[in-house]
């Protein structure tokens, strides 16, 4: 009995004497929402920027009455060989422990991207705090620390603003693609695929964007813009795909949810706006006599959003004609993406993987010089488009006017 009670006391002591292992009070954490990566002065040296949230400045109406004068975030920069080293080094500057579990955004400066990103990413993946679902972007023409330091309107935390813009621009416009950290890691490790990362640009003078006053303006001096997709080869940024090319990439990636395409009518260019409402991508590969081939089949559904010319939308023939034009336009955009990627010799679409799945034996020797073969790869694109709705009205008002003129 005595030994049993002694054991009980020891067990209880175990709870109290451990010192609360791994206990981190919320007040001791600096919540990092974004990490920036830039090229350092020396080879192999990197500049890491940590965008840390000041919670009381972000949440208004709280106990501390939300200090409006404080910036919503603070950016700490530190040089180091690896993330881990830099993060620990930053404790010399930050008053709290950097906490990485809520990193939503990893930004790479263009210079570093061109120099190569293969070396730096390991500690991101190895850390138990950083999530693999963090979004990856490239700061186009700038360093990451410049872009991360910009205050943004509406969303007080710049990382949230960036992620929001990235998400909605992919969903509504389709000229960017949201790439998670995990996608890049997997693409780097795969011979049949190369990574691609969307870009963020800054419009305006970056110095002005670091002041809170920037967002007090109704038309901020500095604003972020998502646009363009960076194509990588062997871990290095080799070129940008922009506009229609970027949308083509989205299409081939199967991530295009919705977009707007303009097609011609009455011999005038881009007169009818068509909203893609649904799209399905199917990529098939085969190897014929040692030569790989790719067939892309797109099935898309659309509705008419905008008509600037007088056409009879009530007639099926007109609708079919529009659908045909849409098919052509879609094919052109996709082909432009393929051409661009072939020019850069980087298989960002994962065609190599499709070939490997279709013919693993042939892939065995194809993969040896895949970048070259990819640049010569014949790609056939088949598009099937269906226009389902003309919108809330059928006939354009221009047509009504025409009719009336004729009747009089």
């Amino acid at each position: 009995m005595r030994s049993r009670s002694l054991l009980m006391i020891l067990c209880m002591a175990l709870l109290l004497l451990t010192g609360c292992w791994n206990n981190r009070e919320l007040g001791t954490l600096a919540i990092v929402t974004a990490i920036g990566l830039d090229k350092g002065k020396n080879q192999n040296e990197h500049v890491f920027s940590f965008q840390v949230v000041n919670p009381s400045a972000v949440i208004s109406g709280t106990v501390g009455q939300g200090d409006e004068n404080m910036g919503p975030v603070t950016v700490y920069t530190e040089t180091g060989e690896t993330l881990f080293e830099a993060a620990r080094k930053a404790s010399q500057k930050a008053p709290r422990r950097l906490f990485f579990s809520h990193v939503r955004y990893i930004m790479i400066g263009e210079q570093l991207a061109r120099q190569g990103i293969n070396g730096v990413l390991d500690s991101f993946e190895r850390s138990n705090e950083i999530r693999l679902t963090a979004r990856l972007v490239i700061a186009k023409g700038r360093t990451a620390q410049e872009v991360l330091a910009i205050v943004t309107p509406m969303e007080k935390i710049p990382a949230t603003a960036g992620v929001g813009a990235l998400e909605f621009s992919e969903e509504l416009w389709g000229e960017s693609i949201k790439i998670e950290f995990d996608d890049v890691i997997r693409a780097i490790g795969n011979p049949g695929r190369e990574p691609m990362i969307s870009a963020v640009e800054l419009l305006g003078n970056p110095r002005a964007g670091q002041r809170v006053e920037n967002i007090q303006l109704t038309k901020p001096d500095v604003i972020e813009k998502i646009g363009g997709i960076g194509a990588f080869r062997t871990g290095k940024l080799v070129g940008w795909l922009e506009g229609e090319q970027a949308r083509g990439v989205n299409w081939l990636h199967g991530s295009l949810k919705s977009s707007v395409l303009m097609v011609d009518c009455d011999g005038k260019k881009d007169q009818v706006g068509i909203e893609i409402t649904r799209s399905k991508t199917d990529i098939q590969g085969k190897v014929v006599q040692g030569k790989p081939q790719i067939t892309v089949t797109i099935t898309e559904e659309a509705s008419i959003a905008d008509v600037k010319c007088a056409i009879h939308l009530s007639s099926p023939a007109v609708i079919y004609e529009l659908a045909n034009k849409l098919e052509d336009k879609t094919m052109l955009q996709i082909m432009s993406a393929v051409k661009a990627a072939q020019q850069y010799k980087t298989d960002i679409f994962g065609f190599g993987e499709v070939i490997r799945r279709a013919d693993p034996k042939a892939w065995g020797h194809l993969k040896l010089d895949w970048p070259d073969r990819f640049s010569q790869l014949p790609v056939e694109v088949k598009v099937k488009a269906f226009i389902r709705q003309p919108g809330m009205i059928t006939e354009p008002y221009l047509l009504k006017r025409d009719k009336k003129v004729r009747n009089e």
Binding site: T18, E25, T33, V53, I59, T62, V63, G64
Partner: protein, 544 residues
Amino acid sequence: MKFIRKFTQKTRTSSNRNRDENHQGSAIDDGHRPLDTDLDINIKRFREETGNSPDLKVRQFELGSNPQIRVAAIYNEGLVDQPQLNEFVIQPLMLSKDRGRLSEASGEQVFHFLRNHALPVGEVDTVENWNEVMNTVMDGNTIIFIDHFPVAIGCNTSGGEWRGIEKPTTELSIRGPKDSFNESISTNISLIRRRIKSPNLWLEMYRIGEITHTDVAIMYMNGIVSDQIVEEVRQRLTGIKVDGILQAGNIEQLIEDQTMTPFPTVYNTERPDLVSRYLLDGRVAIIVDGTPFVLLVPALFTQFFVASDDYAQRYDISSFIRLLRYASFLISLLGPSIYIAAITFHQEMIPTPLLFSLAATREGVPFPALVEALLMELSFEILREAGIRMPRAVGQAVSIVGALVLGQAAVQAGIVSPAMVIVVSITGIASFSTPAYNLAVSARLIRFVLMILAATFGFYTLTLAMIVLVAHLSSLRSFGIPYLSPYAPFQMDDQKDALVRLPLWMLATRTKAINKKNIKKMEPSGHSMLKKQNNRPEGERHEE
């Protein structure tokens, strides 16, 4: 009322006799001495033994003539029914027309005359020793001593004041019956008997408490209840040897299976309708004189989540509300500990925007989350305890101060975070939604342990603690029935009335975990037959 009183009186005295017979085997104690033949000696002795207590009245008068025979009526002023005593005992003794027959009668003749002719009360007993004399008087009955005869007469005159039958105060319901038990055992028995008019509703009386002689009744449905359980209850009750039983809670703690557990293994209720329901479900009710709560055994974990309204309302809303009760039990158990674990160990599990607002509200709070939570929980417990004990007149003051100090001021002073106030309030409200107060209390206790565990290793220890808790729950028994049934051991048929309550016509069997025989309580086809008949077209019905 009177009928009931007499009925209980009878069983009471008959069981007394059994007890006395049992006692005769043991050493003859002083109480069993026979009465003296001399009236004066008897009265003197009674006076001495009761310390001349003035509320015990001795009324002497004389009967017959030539020679007159003296008799004395002894009763307890406060416990007798005064009008009854006057009208049916004193008056006949003093004014009887037949008194003339008593001339030259011996003590024995007077005794027989009185017993058989003179006393128009429902129940008359022969009292032969001092022990019986005392019991009879203390029960509120009247003893009549007769000079020159060593046997006295006990007449049933018990009565006195009780609180009336009032609305339930702790187990409220919207649609269920509105009566509740009071402190009188005979009233309580009658409330149950009125609901179950069956000769198979059996009653056994015990007197427990060497000094208090408290009446304890057990009730059960003969033919439904398992004999083993009744036998077990009998044994545990007769095993109690204690000076005083002052309320049902004392009995509960003396007969429960497990003392070293925070969970109650005996159910109590103040609602006669719930007692009747559970009697029909093969439980044994233990009714203790002087307590408006009736105990029910065996008690299952699920039973504590059942309210009377569950069967008054339709099944859909009853099921929803019952699920809600389970959920709020979990909240009251785990609320603060999950919050503590999440914000001190598992910040990555909190959605990012929520984390920011939590972090913002905790900016400047000087305490770690655990201390903050303990502070708030303890002050809430103090407030609750004060709310129960305080005189009604100062209630307002406590609630104002409580609301101001706990809510407003503590947050504005930056001592606690608003989020913690929300967590503590939700936990507090959730703990009130468990219908059974004694189970809600156990959740309150365990909550503090869980909070400390959550602050040491986070969800890891919390998970371990839950495993231990479930293991402990499944190890419990209530009068031999596994506490966690019908979940463990799993009993398919009982699931119909556990987490949810299915339509009444589907609940065709009694709780299988408890009942072994007479399992059916409804013709299973009862409801569906009704439907078929209604749907059948007219013509077909004629053909039959």
